[in-house]
């Protein structure tokens, strides 16, 4: 492992390392990224080991311009508009992949997240290399966001350190948020992770009744059902008192085929329901009475995540940090319910973290 100050590093040297299956840690405008040649199977495998990443979690890649992106994904009109408007910049755009990269870079569904970092050194390296490189953040999964080289090294094992070929040290980076992530593969773009760039969410539906709210929950379940048993699935519910979070959960339970009546878990904090037909467990949590987010962990959350259960968490914003800690291995569907004009109307929006 070599560490070089950014002013000592040359594009040629970095490209040489990348070509020889090397893993390079480089700064971007958001965080330090762990970069390998995304077309090189050995290098990608090394990166996955380095990240200690759960199976099947996609890696996003960086290109130097839109035309390189177009070689690897199909850009629809929404995606092209976003490229024009925001890139280079802290935005990752997910499109349908053309399956030209190493397996494991695209998602299980064949989609690929691409960004164009607003950082000259990285762009020069990609141009010279002629291939996309991975830009996943340089921390191991679940560890501190890397703004300095020490943030990274302090949390790595010797084994992980041994996988790094070269580190480009640019000192402490400004504390920018990770990039915004937007999925353009559906009819309407969905913001999956909110960063600096704010894009208006267009997935917002009007629920006219409790029944509507339940149906929306059912539809959302059907959309993400494919992850059942592969990952834990968390429906993180946010909305004021009486907005229908328990009603939403009732809809979810119906979709899961749970026969028991779902009631508010406020007093009891947590209730577990068995969906016998599909051999699944729904864990309904209410954080309203919790005094600190850590109480969620005291309930055994970590273990339940490992069991890949389905969760509905009311007042999720209170435990947002803890839920986000799991975003690499868990499907998190963040659902916001708000009051609308009429008595029974609610606005429901969602995004996947």
């Amino acid at each position: 492992m070599k560490i070089k100050k950014i002013y000592e590093a040359s594009v040629e040297e970095i490209v040489e390392v990348l070509k020889k299956n090397g893993l390079v840690i480089m700064p971007t405008e958001t965080l330090y990224g762990a970069m390998v040649d995304a077309t090189n199977p050995k290098a990608v495998k090394k990166l996955i080991t380095y990240k200690n990443r759960p199976f099947g979690k996609p890696l996003s890649v960086a290109v130097n311009d839109e035309s390189m992106a177009a070689k690897y994904v199909s850009l629809n009109e929404t995606a092209r508009e976003l490229y024009q408007k925001y890139l280079p910049g802290p935005l990752t755009i997910i499109s349908k992949g053309k399956h030209l990269l190493v397996k494991g870079v695209e998602s299980e569904l064949g989609t690929l997240g691409i960004r164009i970092p607003d950082f000259k050194l990285v762009l020069d390296v990609i141009e010279k290399l002629g291939h996309p490189i991975t830009v996943t953040s340089a921390n191991a999964s679940y560890k501190k966001r890397p703004y300095t080289i020490n943030d990274i090294l302090d949390n790595l094992s010797q084994k992980q350190k041994a996988l790094i070929s070269l580190i480009i040290d640019a000192g402490e980076l400004p504390r920018n948020e990770p990039s915004t992530v937007i999925d353009t593969t559906l009819d309407d773009p969905i913001v999956l992770r909110q960063g600096e760039i704010k894009i208006k969410e267009s997935i917002e539906v009007l629920s006219r009744s409790v029944e509507d709210t339940k149906n929306i929950a059912k539809e959302l379940w059907q959309k993400y059902e494919k992850f059942k048993g592969v990952r834990a699935i968390i429906f993180a519910l946010e909305g004021p008192m009486g907005s229908g979070k328990t009603q939403f959960t009732k809809g979810l339970a119906l979709a899961l085929g749970i026969e028991d009546e779902i009631i508010s878990p406020t007093f009891i904090l947590e209730a577990e329901y068995e969906a016998k037909d599909i051999n699944e467990i729904l864990i309904h949590i209410d954080t309203w009475r919790m005094q600190s987010p850590e109480e969620l962990l005291q309930l055994g959350f970590n273990n339940q995540i490992k069991q890949k259960h389905v969760f509905s968490i009311e007042w999720a914003e209170k435990v947002g940090n803890i839920i986000r800690d799991y975003d690499e291995e868990v499907i998190i569907i963040w659902v916001k319910i708000s009051y609308s004009k009429k008595e029974n109307e609610r606005l429901i929006s969602w995004g996947v973290l």
Partner: protein, 361 residues
């Protein structure tokens, strides 16, 4: 026949020693006393850590009853419903005591405890007053109503130990609904008791809130989520600053409507032919300590010439272990206990229902 009982179903760590229906000691380590001890905010970590305080509470209970475990006849414990990790603490402690001292082990349903809490008798008073009568004076079938932070149930009591839930909540429990209304009015948690105090000064007719399920009482379930929403809307429509008078009126109006819904469903049950033989109602659970609710319940039962029985002390309404001891006593009489060398199958049942046998029964 002396029983040591433990209840750690949710927030309180409770231990009691009972003899039949007579309470020898009844110790509750509650959040309220924690607040007093810490003089304000409780460190949340300590709050649900039954483990750290259970031994101390057991000690205190034994001391107060002047008993030793070896002189007791059985160990009882709540196995559900409740919070799994909390139940676990009481169950393993009870198993430990049962094995160590070779005492029969009696697993009890928390709701059955609330249901039978009106049977409890003080060791200091002879049972002369009307509402502290022993179970032998009950004519079956009777009805039970349990209203607490986590439960709102009307239960048909065919006989002691044989129950059928005939109405329950489909969303929030009554106590929870009051706590949430209190929160919306700016009170801390748990605010139900504060709401009651404030409501005393208020006029319950000042604000118009919809009685839930009105005209649909025959569906025989409770629903408090719509009322909560209506209250939220009402407060939002009125802006932020309320006078003291307005807060009292809002509290009184909310409480009245919440109770009316409860009473209306109960009245439907009392009126129906199916339950016409019922002559007595046993009432328990934290919300039953509310004076206005008890008054409304007395009024409605009077109308149908039914006697209503409440626990004799405030401490018996909220979660406690004395009520578990009473339920355990009847279970023991029915031989529904386990030998200390046969406890492996006993586990927590977080969603136990009072009308369903426990998994191993």
């Amino acid at each position: 026949m002396k029983i040591l009982s433990i209840d750690t179903s949710c927030d309180e760590t409770a231990v009691a020693i009972t003899e039949g229906a007579i309470i020898l000691s009844n110790i509750i380590w509650s959040q309220a006393s924690l607040h007093a001890k810490w003089g304000g905010v409780v460190p949340s970590l300590a709050q649900r850590e039954h483990k750290e305080r259970i031994d101390w509470v057991i000690e205190k209970t034994l001391h107060s009853a002047k008993c030793k475990v070896q002189n007791l006849d059985a160990i009882a414990v709540t196995v559900g419903p409740g919070l799994a990790i909390a139940l676990e603490v009481g169950i393993s402690k009870a198993k430990e005591l049962s094995k160590k001292y070779k005492k029969p082990f009696i697993p009890v349903n928390h709701i059955e405890g609330h249901l039978l809490s009106p049977f409890a008798q003080s060791k200091y008073l002879k049972p002369i007053t009307g509402y502290r009568l022993p179970a032998t004076d009950i004519s079956f079938p009777a009805l039970g109503v349990v209203t607490s932070g986590g439960h709102t149930e009307v239960i048909l009591i065919k006989k002691i130990g044989e129950y059928k839930i005939i109405a329950k909540t489909s969303d929030d429990a009554l106590g929870e609904s009051l706590d949430k209304a209190a929160r919306l009015l700016g009170f801390g948690y748990p605010g139900g008791a504060v709401l009651e105090q404030v409501a005393k000064e208020g006029n319950h007719q000042s604000f118009n809130l919809p009685i839930p399920m009105i005209g649909r009482e025959k569906e025989m379930y409770f629903s408090y989520s719509g009322l909560k929403t209506a209250f939220y809307r009402l407060l939002e429509g009125k802006g932020k600053d309320f006078s003291k008078k307005e807060i009292s009126d809002l509290a009184a109006s909310y409480q009245r409507v919440a109770f009316s819904h409860f009473i209306r469903v109960l009245e439907y049950i009392l009126k129906s032919k199916e339950y016409s033989q019922v002559k007595q109602i046993l009432a328990g659970g934290g919300v039953m300590a509310n004076v206005s609710l008890r008054k409304m319940l007395r009024d409605i039962t009077k109308k149908y010439k039914i006697e209503v029985l409440f626990p004799y002390s405030k401490k018996l309404y909220t979660d406690n272990a004395a009520m578990i001891g009473i339920a355990a006593y009847y279970k023991f009489e029915r031989k529904e206990f386990l030998n200390p060398n046969n406890l492996d199958k006993v586990e927590r049942v977080p969603r136990a229902k009072v009308d369903k046998p426990l998994p191993w029964e």
